[in-house]
Amino acid sequence: MRAVITVIGKDNVGILHKVSGVCSEKGVNVIEVTQSVLQDMFAMIMLVDISGMTADFAELVDEMANLGEKLGLSIHTMHEDIFNSMHNI
């Protein structure tokens, strides 16, 4: 089971560190990261494996959203199925 974490907002020190910190706390394994910084806009997409997750998926969603609020970023955590079914035939 995999999920996609997207982080969008103003660039800042330690974003990747903090997001992956929450992942590691919850037993979520980061598989792939792609990120870009355009001027001062930061966009990161993280593909993670949640099969060994120690927490409930809803908890991860809420915690990431809270972290986003604290950092002034928008962080979404969504199951990968939604992207697969929407964009692949």
């Binding site: 997207t6 593909l47 809803a58 969603v61 979404h76 969504m78 199951h79 929407m86 964009h87």
Partner: protein, 452 residues
């Protein structure tokens, strides 16, 4: 394979373009709750609904979290209550409405639909009593929706029922006059009603359906409009292609959510309804899609053609995205629930006559239209008859949900708030159709009903 562009597109659709799942609706058969003792029947109804749908809201919320997509409504549709009322001839069917309300409260759902009767060819036991109880039922409950099917392509139009429904619509509005006539907003009169519709107020669980199943109604007018806005110079067939692709994506989301809900609830997956359902929110309007196609304002000349193209393209895109398409499936045009329609009606560009023409090419009918409070029951019946005739002859579902605004005149506003929105009182003709309506009887089915 996931790619960055697709991921960001999905997120933008949800965040900025109001993409959501409008409803997951559990259809529940109540045929096994029939009892000659109405109190026992009500208890069985309550128990069955709670046992099947007790988990519905929690499951809906769980799926919202998993996929990050809002599921705006969690609803239930049940067997037309007239069939249960038939077994208790001397009782007031409103008891069933109260039992349904109790079940809605326990389950925490937004609406239960199915306080309904199917009388397209005539009244059977229980039908007339149920119809006559609709004003009281919608007055004493909050989350119950009612529908009556008065015609079909196969059987013609039951004009006795049409006459009765004109009176019932008016009485329902009057009984709830202190609450902005909200009762009439929960009552819809159908021709060719479908048995697996997940949308309110017309949802009921048909007798041909399984014991329990889960339907999904998608939304997404904002997504379609945003997609079209990127191609200001495209030809109409290019626009049709863009709409098809967008509808495909929206419907895939509905299919995914329905399949997941079915798995978590342990009930079969019914259908995905492809309707583009608007809300009064900014950026969630079907009228704005038509305007994006090149109309200065919805309701002007050309509106019917644009809507016909939109409706067809939505179906063509959606049908490939889901293996089980059903319900009403098309574009909805509820006036009070669509910011662009409200503006067009206030400006006097969108009239009742134009809306009637539009219903010939889109999914349902005259929906959420506010008419003057003094409109006679016969005129309401005649509006219903006109609309039913369009449905009957074109072999499609049509419906009438008009709200007589008690004490208000043309041009004044009626405010419901929430998803139901607000609407200006629209003009109706003042010449009487009473003699036609009072004849009674049945409009025979059209020639093309004889297909065998």
């Amino acid at each position: 394979m996931l790619n960055v562009y697709n991921i960001l597109e999905t997120i933008r659709m949800i965040q900025d373009e109001c993409l959501d799942i409008r409803t997951i609706t559990m259809g529940i058969s109540l045929l096994d709750c029939i009892d000659t003792d109405i109190d026992k029947a009500c208890e069985k109804v309550y128990n069955k609904i709670v046992s099947k749908a007790g988990n519905l809201v929690a499951v809906g919320q769980r799926i919202e979290k998993e996929y990050g997509i809002p599921i705006v409504n969690k609803r239930i549709s049940v067997t037309p209550i007239a069939m249960l009322a038939a077994a208790c001839p001397n009782e007031n069917p409103v008891k069933f409405a109260k039992a349904l309300q109790r079940a809605a409260d326990t389950c925490g759902v937004n609406f239960i639909g199915g306080y309904s009767a199917l009388v397209h060819k005539g009244f059977s036991a229980g039908d007339e009593a149920l119809i006559r109880s609709i004003p009281e039922a919608l007055d004493v409950t909050q989350n119950i929706c009612s529908s009556v099917n008065i015609g079909s392509t196969k059987s013609g139009i039951n004009m006795d029922a049409v006459k009765l429904m004109g009176e019932i619509v008016k009485e329902t509005a009057e009984r709830t006059a202190d609450r902005d006539c909200i009762g009439a907003a929960k009552l819809v009169v159908f021709c060719n009603a479908v048995e697996d519709n997940p949308f309110m107020a017309g949802a009921f669980h048909g007798v041909g359906e399984p014991d329990c199943e889960i339907h999904v109604g998608v939304s997404g007018p904002g997504v379609v409009r945003a997609a079209l806005s990127k191609y200001p110079d495209a030809s109409i067939n290019e626009l049709a292609d863009i709409i098809k692709k967008t509808a495909f994506k929206i419907t895939r989301m509905g299919q995914l959510v329905g399949a997941r809900a079915s798995e978590l609830l342990g009930v079969p997956f019914g259908i995905v309804d492809l309707s583009l359902a608007p809300t009064p929110a900014v950026g969630d309007s079907v009228a704005h899609i038509l305007e994006e196609m090149g109309l200065e304002m919805c309701g002007t000349h050309g509106t019917t053609a644009c809507l016909a193209m939109l409706n067809d393209a939505v179906k063509k895109g959606g049908v490939m995205a889901s293996s089980t398409v059903g319900g009403l499936s098309g574009a909805f045009i509820p006036v009070s629930e669509d910011a662009g329609m409200i503006d067009a009606a206030v400006a006097g560009i969108l009239s009742l006559e134009k809306l009637e023409a539009m219903t010939a090419v889109c999914s349902v009918g005259l929906d959420m239209i506010v008419i003057p409070g003094e409109t006679s029951p016969e005129t309401i019946s005649a509006i219903i008859a006109d609309e039913a005739a369009i449905g009957m002859v074109n072999t499609k579902t049509t419906a009438v949900r008009v709200i007589p605004a008690v004490g208000k005149k043309e041009g004044e506003m009626l405010e419901f708030g929430g998803l139901l929105g607000s609407g200006p009182v629209m003009s109706v003709k003042d010449k009487s159709p009473a003699k036609f309506i009072n004849r009674g009887g049945r409009i025979p089915a059209p020639m093309h009903s004889l297909k065998n």
